[in-house]
């Protein structure tokens, strides 16, 4: 890779690389498809949503989750790459946590899957550590001035997930119905969970 070289079309580069690696027996179609299907279908924010809904409905679980995220999350069967040590941050009416990785795209895969495009984009990564209130406003989240903002830059192997506030008016919902309300954005800390 030299900087002076002509730019290749990204899709064509992937095809060329895949073709060479397949020829050398270093990758195969089945393995590639398994990776893709896993992160398209089994590992995603629906996992984290179950963790949140459990914490909202089970006070003991919530205590365990906030004290030590990784084993509490594993209780629901979620573990794996990019989830060696997960810290869960509790959002409250007075404290709002938001997560970023300024250096690359570190993200808690077992609970949230692969990061969305906006999370990996330099605009979010550069600005949320400098003007988080303004960034949240651009995303549509206008926090009151009295709310304290805490920004977490994922610069080590520790991964962060936000436990959002449970919306009002959801007292009678089942754990499953609650999980359906929880969004990826709320678990990164760029949105709140809306009431149904």
């Amino acid at each position: 890779m030299t900087s002076a070289a002509e730019l290749l079309d990204p899709a064509l580069r992937v095809e060329a690389l895949a073709s060479l690696l397949t020829e050398r027996g270093l990758i195969d179609e089945t393995t590639i498809d398994t990776f893709i299907k896993t992160y398209e279908q089994s590992v995603g924010p629906m996992n984290g949503a179950k963790v949140v809904a459990r914490a909202w409905t089970d006070a003991e679980y919530r205590i365990r989750l906030l004290a030590e995220g990784t084993p509490a999350i594993a209780e629901l069967g979620f573990k794996g790459p990019q989830g060696e040590h997960i810290v869960v941050l509790e959002n409250t009416p007075t404290v709002h946590n938001v997560v970023v990785c300024t250096l690359c795209s570190c993200y808690p895969w077992p609970v949230l899957g692969l990061p969305p495009s906006w999370y990996k984009d330099p605009a979010y990564r550069s600005r949320v550590v400098r003007e988080p209130r303004q960034v949240l406003r651009e995303f549509g989240l206008d926090l009151d001035d009295h709310v304290e903002i805490r920004v977490h830059d994922s610069s080590s192997e520790v991964r962060y997930m936000v436990l959002p506030e449970r919306p009002a008016g959801t007292e009678n919902l089942s754990e499953e119905d609650l999980a359906a309300l929880v969004t990826r954005d709320a678990m990164v800390g760029v949105a709140k969970v809306a009431a149904p």
């Binding site: 900087s3 992937v14 990776f35 300024t102 690359c104 605009a123 400098r130 303004q134 610069s155």
Partner: protein, 219 residues
């Protein structure tokens, strides 16, 4: 390295992208790119830190062309380093796939790095006791290593407070260069926004995980 990847606090990237519930891969080639990158460290006999460092070495104009592009080129750079493929081969194959009849160069001779592993994952116990405790004031060093580091520019030379002791872990700065796992203590360090961005900064606190060699005591 002081590269294009270290964007924390940079200005000029514009409005943040819209929040969407789009699937992880917008197009089939992106899924394939993900899988190749996810397998690349195994194929090249390297590690996660080396992969991150390879992405950091993607030329800026390619880095800014999009996420799966820099991910793929990072994977390629790491495989070039281990003698798995060459850029000439990739370009020749790309040309042939585009219907141009070009000659393909011979494959390189593999030379994978040999660094002993302390086991799966990156969490490790550290023999020495931690140098800092919760509540200690610490200075993030004004360090500019030529290689991989997880000390971003925007905290260098700034004073923070240790907020938590994280699990000990493989030290990225040495592991990325196959110089050993060299496990280190790691701390969540809290910085006041005004310490980072001056007196007119939005009021907030910034927490970042920093390895012990990045930190100096403040008395």
């Amino acid at each position: 390295m002081d590269g294009i990847h270290d964007v924390g606090g940079m200005q000029g990237f514009g409005h943040v992208q819209e929040l969407t519930s789009a699937p992880p891969f917008g197009e089939p080639w992106e899924g394939k790119a993900f899988a190749i990158g996810a397998l690349a460290a195994r194929i090249a006999g390297t590690n996660l830190h080396a992969f991150r460092h390879a992405i950091e070495r993607v030329p800026p104009r390619e880095y800014l062309r999009g996420y799966w592009n820099r991910w793929t080129i990072g994977a390629q750079i790491m495989m070039e380093d281990s003698g798995i493929v060459t850029d000439q081969e990739v370009r020749a194959r790309a040309a042939r796939l585009s219907g141009r009849d070009v000659a393909e160069p011979p494959p390189p001779a593999p030379h994978k790095p040999q660094m002993p592993s302390g086991g799966p994952g990156n969490l490790r116990s550290v023999e020495s006791p931690p140098a800092f405790a919760v509540g200690d004031r610490v200075l993030a060093g004004d360090l500019h290593p030529a290689g991989h580091t997880r000390l971003p520019r925007y905290v260098r030379g700034r004073i923070g407070i240790v907020a938590a002791l994280q699990p000990g872990a493989v030290f990225p700065d040495t592991a990325a260069h196959f110089l050993g796992e060299n496990p280190q203590h790691c701390y969540a360090v809290e910085f006041d926004s005004r310490e980072l961005w001056g007196p007119d900064a939005e009021p907030f606190r910034l927490f970042i995980d920093l390895f012990e060699p990045y930190l100096e005591p403040v008395t």
